[in-house]
Point group: C2
């Protein structure tokens, strides 16, 4: 390495070869298509924000991980998620936006974590959120489930389970047990998949929950199948609890109308989602064949997105895909269909003295929206087409120019044919 | 403003409303399509780099503007262009890439300049480059002209002039005048459009160029029309000069074969491009109706992209569009067709008790790839469709459910009709 400069990207920063990048870009394209299918509109906020904006909420974890610096007088930070900038955006543009505001937001975010396998310091989040002004119907909570299902199906990952829960149910249940520190308990419950039931029991006792209450909590978390019915049968007289059960039931019923297969959806009372701003439905998504990927799409309902920036009330519901991590998992498990490095449909090679004929053909074909490359060396051209897996090579030399025709080589079969322009065009359109 | 937090983006950071963002995204889509049409492959490099990578070349200007900070032991900077990261990428992946490596690279870059009108601190660059290993045919220099023309035509900006020059011609000409400090002279010439001929004359004299030589330089820069012929007639016996004239002539001849209109192309000897790494063809692009936008697409040929990172030789040629600035200019001159905020084709409204019918119709139509939104309030729904200019609203209530049909309202004409599902689908596809 000249000058001893390390030319690798920094640890935790994903960088792809072109053939991988194409697959990544296609995934983004698919996600955007589903956004549009459901009427979600694009926005894009800067990657840099005033630190006071990003840190308005305050959280020790965020403070440690954030990339923050000064430039002149400005105290600047790189965004660590898309939600906080979205809140600022909504507060700033509240008079110009149409509500409900359905947003499809794809962009990079930054977290200066210790680099480790599967953890990235720069990564794409694909967020989709619906924000209401003062109120937002529960129907959008169901629509989010439909979008998750459609997105992953279109990404070719249809063996999945979308798990939902409702914070109101958890809050009401804890209140019925006269528990006040429900946030701490939620955080512990949230780890149940990772650390197991025994450890959860231990930790709950550790924060002073009585043995009897721990048992009640674990029994509650253990409720599977017919969850709504069983919750109703608990006869808990708490308004928030009842409201939460009603919301769960509504979303569950809608899921059927959205034609989501029964086995792709589940109410799972152990899902809490650590973030304290969720207030209703919460979501996680598991790929059944790759549970070790963790949740590939998570989110929830929040009562007030913009509380740090405006006194108006903007409730919302949304989910996020950590696309960089998902792509990395798929790549490492050989689950990506990385076939080609290019969308080029054919390479035109102009032999010595016939370069202009090649340029002319390329110009004509591009007018027909056919992705065409032109090279002027047979040897280099064939090598190039081979390596990039360009399916068709057209050769123009003396004979072809004289007869006003083209030698067409199918690079897969090796077969050659001689075609006039119209026949060539037809052939290209059929291939 | 609650908590007195400034919710505007920082100065120099563009942030768009959704209807503007849609137009911006469509411009990017168009540029990508032209990349693909010419076989340019996608890459994406991190926005953060080791400072030693970005500053390897060294330049006072860059050092001052760069966003640079420390995180732990790491000395990190935000990239200020796409070219330096591309050089690192090519050096790092040289054994895995197929050459010529045609790259279409679109991404944000950062420059901490004093904010002023039309200057951005965060902006998109759309770069397209062809990199060869050890050599790169001159034909690609012409292909770049064709791509510029096609890109801007597809963006609806076809009243343009692509101006090229050749550094070899300038270098050879200066050598013929026994001038050694040609870099300084190039920098002064480059400002001729901005500061005028008189000031250039003055500045040239200021750095010690004799009156006689200044006159020769100005006469040379003044050559218009039949430039190649006139350059040949100068009878300058300098190999580099001759090579440069030959290259200019080649590109000019190719431009015709690429079917670029004569008036959209020009050889302009005053174009020097300040950057010292250009070694052959240089490009600038002017929108004839908006010369004050400056060059909207510029670039050139460079002999060695990666000299700071590897001892192998990678010559290249490429151009860049500063898309954020271009978009801002178009926006401020009301040249953008900002019509709608959404790609939603219809809104389905379910009346009280018929919400599920609406959800069901939305589900069916999305299966047909029709962008569909669903709402459950007639008043809110019509207001929403009006504000977002959704062209069609479908209403489902008791009557519709009973007769298994849909009330379809054309929001532009106000006309209503009642259609069965198949007729609705036909109607939507026709609209």
């Amino acid at each position: 390495m000249k000058n001893n400069i390390n030319t690798q990207p920094m640890p935790g920063f994903m960088e792809l070869l072109p053939q991988q990048q194409m697959v990544f870009n296609n995934m983004i394209k698919t996600i955007r298509e589903v956004y549009e299918l459901y009427g979600f509109r694009p926005i894009e906020t800067p990657l840099l924000e005033r630190s006071e904006v990003l840190l308005a909420k305050g959280s020790g974890e965020t403070d440690k991980q954030i990339y923050r610096f000064k430039k002149g007088d400005a105290d600047i930070s790189l965004r660590f998620d898309l939600t906080v900038p979205l809140a600022r955006y909504v507060a700033n543009n509240q008079n110009d936006l149409v509500f409900p505001f359905k947003i499809g937001n794809i962009g990079k975010v930054y977290r200066g974590e210790k680099p480790q396998a599967g953890r990235f310091r720069e990564f794409y989040q694909c967020d989709f959120d619906v924000i209401g002004r003062e109120e937002l119907p529960i129907s959008y909570d169901a629509e989010i489930v439909a979008m998750i299902y459609q997105m992953f199906t279109k990404l070719g990952l249809n063996n999945l389970k979308i798990k939902i829960n409702n914070r109101k149910v958890l809050n009401g249940f804890f209140r019925s047990l006269s528990i006040s520190n429900s946030q701490d308990i939620l955080r512990i419950i949230d780890k149940i998949e990772k650390i197991g039931k025994g450890k959860v029991e231990e930790e709950l006792k550790g924060i002073g929950v009585s043995k009897d209450t721990v048992e009640k909590i674990l029994n509650f978390l253990n409720i599977k199948e017919d969850v709504v019915k069983k919750l109703k049968n608990l006869d808990i007289e708490d308004e928030e609890f009842k409201k939460g059960v009603e919301e769960l039931e509504y979303v569950q019923n809608q899921v059927e109308i959205f034609e989501i297969p029964k086995e792709a959806f589940e109410i799972d009372l152990t899902i809490a989602r650590g973030l304290d701003y969720y207030t209703g439905t919460v979501y996680e998504t598991i790929l059944n064949n790759y549970p070790n990927f963790g949740s590939v799409c998570s989110g929830g309902r929040y009562d007030n997105l913009t509380s740090f920036y405006t006194s108006n009330n903007y409730p919302g519901v949304g989910c996020s895909i950590g696309l960089t991590r998902l792509f990395d998992c798929l790549l490492k498990n050989n689950l990506l269909d990385i076939k080609t490095e290019t969308d080029t449909q054919l390479l035109v090679i102009g032999m010595d003295g016939y370069e202009n004929n090649a340029t002319k053909l390329g110009t004509d074909l591009r007018k027909e929206n056919i992705n065409t490359e032109v090279m002027n060396s047979l040897k280099n051209g064939l090598k190039y087409a081979n390596r990039l897996k360009i399916p068709i090579v057209v050769i123009i030399g003396e004979q072809e120019a004289k007869s006003n025709s083209f030698t067409v080589k199918d690079m897969n079969s090796g077969q050659q044919s001689t075609l006039k322009y119209d026949a060539l065009l037809k052939y290209l359109r059929a291939n």
